[in-house]
Symmetry: C2
Subunit: 158 residues, 2 copies
């Protein structure tokens, strides 16, 4: 299960826009500025920002002093929104939504496992907002998770 480059780039761009928003909610930032700071290929970032714009998360203006800024408060933009826009559904099975799968026989309950995984992922990504990430004030649930023993280390157990 992979978080795409597009989502990672998009999140970083949005976090830069959040920083900018918290300093001055009216001011805009250009694609070029974000691309330089975050070291993201300009044309790729352009298409990412356009998707975020068309979904209503950010707001654009052309011309001199143009650029992008957040269209909502940073507290009203979750990680889940960004993933769904740039990467599609949080969890897919063979490219389809988990609830669309039909299993038979001994595999009958497999679907429930995929659904449970989706619930778990939703509980993280739908709860965390740009504001929390930018300010470092992550929810208690997240803090608890990242403080767990082994959270930061690879697990190879087979």
């Amino acid at each position: 299960m992979n978080i795409s480059a597009a989502t990672d780039y998009g999140m970083r761009a949005l976090l830069q826009l959040t920083e900018n928003y918290l300093a001055n909610p009216e001011e805009r930032v250009t694609v070029l500025e974000i691309a330089e700071v975050q070291k993201i290929p300009v044309k790729f970032l352009e298409s990412i920002l356009r998707q975020l714009q068309q979904s209503g998360l950010i707001n654009s203006k052309r011309g001199a002093n143009g650029g992008y800024r957040l269209a909502r408060k940073p507290k009203e933009i979750s990680v889940a929104m960004v993933i769904r826009i740039l990467d599609g559904p949080l969890i897919a099975v063979k490219g389809e939504k988990p609830e669309d799968h039909k299993y038979t026989g001994s595999a009958g309950n497999l679907q429930e496992v995929w659904i449970a995984a989706r619930v778990a992922v939703r509980e993280i990504f739908e709860e965390v907002t740009l504001h929390q990430i930018a300010t470092g004030a992550l929810p208690a649930k997240i803090k608890r998770a990242i403080d767990q023993p082994g959270a930061w280390t690879r697990r190879l157990t087979i």
Copy 2:
């Protein structure tokens, strides 16, 4: 985030082997039998089963009356093991492990969000075993998740 066809096929094959194991732990099932029941392309399934065999989850024998059977008890094989063998790490960011990412500035805490997601996914996939899925005796945590309102419906909130 996608559960690959390989993982889905592998899980279904293993669940069929589990059913077989619970009836008679010595008996073997051929690739062809599994492919027919589960409707999986034979040659693709062959390569999946070989990976599971080389990782020690199943056990093979050639020749007449040959085939595959589980190499461990169904209670000792988790979904996480299968995903790691067939799909790689449970969560990757831009193809790399989340802990290998370095973020700066306002994106500094982004890594913690990815790590928290990995913890959440681990808590599901490392806990659920073939035995639980085959018998329908899923852990309470899973049951609670799939009974949650909205667990089975798509979420479009942007």
